[in-house]
């Protein structure tokens, strides 16, 4: 496990456990949690059941900050973004924040520019355009 002072998401230092894990965008979490809540309500046979606090808070949060709401476009976002050789973590941050221009993208995901992995401004521009298109036709 990584010591707290060694972790730094801007350099993708998030520990082995999490680098191997799948990062989820808020929109994906919303779909998952809604399904889980329905399941819980179904099991208890009562639609007014109190949800556990962590679940309730997370659900409210992801609903508020989901950029994409329909399941098809959420899937499309992941498909499109995964064409750009991004790390899982970078993909999720971009999908969550939907930066509007290249400068913003590089600022919210600093690892895009530090690694020299062929993410020039044009590639980032294309990526953001693709994202915008999905949003437009949602």
């Amino acid at each position: 496990m990584l010591r707290a002072d060694e972790e730094d998401a801007s350099e993708l230092k998030i520990g082995d456990d999490f680098l191997k894990a799948k990062c989820l965008m808020n929109s994906e979490v919303a779909i998952l949690l809604e399904h889980r809540c329905d399941q819980m309500k179904h099991m208890s046979g009562d639609s007014t059941t109190q949800l556990p606090q962590v679940l309730e808070k997370s659900l409210q949060y992801v609903k508020r900050f989901s950029r994409f709401t329909n399941q098809g476009s959420v899937k499309q976002v992941r498909e499109v973004l995964s064409r750009y050789q991004l790390a899982e973590f970078e993909l999720a941050v971009i999908g969550n924040l939907c930066p509007e221009n290249v400068e913003e993208a590089k600022s919210v995901v600093p690892s895009l520019k530090t690694k020299g992995r062929g993410h020039d401004d044009e590639a980032i521009e294309r990526l953001l355009n693709d994202l915008l298109m999905i949003k437009k036709f949602e």
Partner: protein, 176 residues
């Protein structure tokens, strides 16, 4: 950030739960025990989404309880230092403001709020720029960067900043 991750836990089950429904009982107990908990290493366990594998049970000497190693998939929320995320402001005071991102609380001190924003007290305490164009108050949505985390046995607490490019109040399309 939310992650989908595989975790493992040794579950102890009382012999009265054995029989046809052993698996269901085990899974129900796992959900009850694990969902909503928080550990420093993996963050908040929000929901279990599936069971990967249940290992062979081992009878514990003297008690009759059986321990099963269970591997399960779950959604966890784990904030990282350096991560940029969006959050909802929950409280504003002269020391700074608190914001919430899912189950996690984030404090932004007034030193980490841009210098041109001033604290205004009143019924609705807020931070406002001198020209009044930008305002942070309860229920505002802000984008912030996490610069430190502190881990408790049952809670993770974060320190954030909005003093950087592309951070701060999120442009609300309704008011822009």
């Amino acid at each position: 950030m939310f992650f989908h991750i595989v975790l493992e836990r040794n579950m102890q089950l009382h012999p009265r739960h054995f029989g046809r429904n052993l698996r269901e009982n085990l899974v129900a107990k796992l959900m009850k025990d694990v969902e909503g908990t928080c550990s420093g290493q993996h963050g908040f366990v929000v929901a279990i989404t599936g069971i990967e594998n249940i290992g062979k049970g081992l009878i514990r000497d003297g008690t009759g309880f059986v321990t099963f190693p269970v591997k399960y998939q779950c959604v966890v929320f784990r904030p990282f230092k350096g991560e940029i995320l969006e959050a909802v402001v929950t409280m504003v005071n002269k020391m700074g403001f608190f914001a919430e991102a899912g189950p996690v609380q984030i404090f932004v001190s007034n030193h980490l709020i841009p210098d041109d924003m001033e604290f205004q007290s009143g019924d609705m305490p807020n931070y406002t720029t001198s020209d009044g164009s930008v305002k942070i108050q309860k229920d505002s949505e802000v984008r912030l960067k996490i610069i430190g985390t502190r881990v408790d046995a049952t809670e993770i607490f974060c320190i954030g900043t909005i003093k950087d490019d592309f951070l701060g109040v999120i442009n609300d399309p309704a008011t822009a």
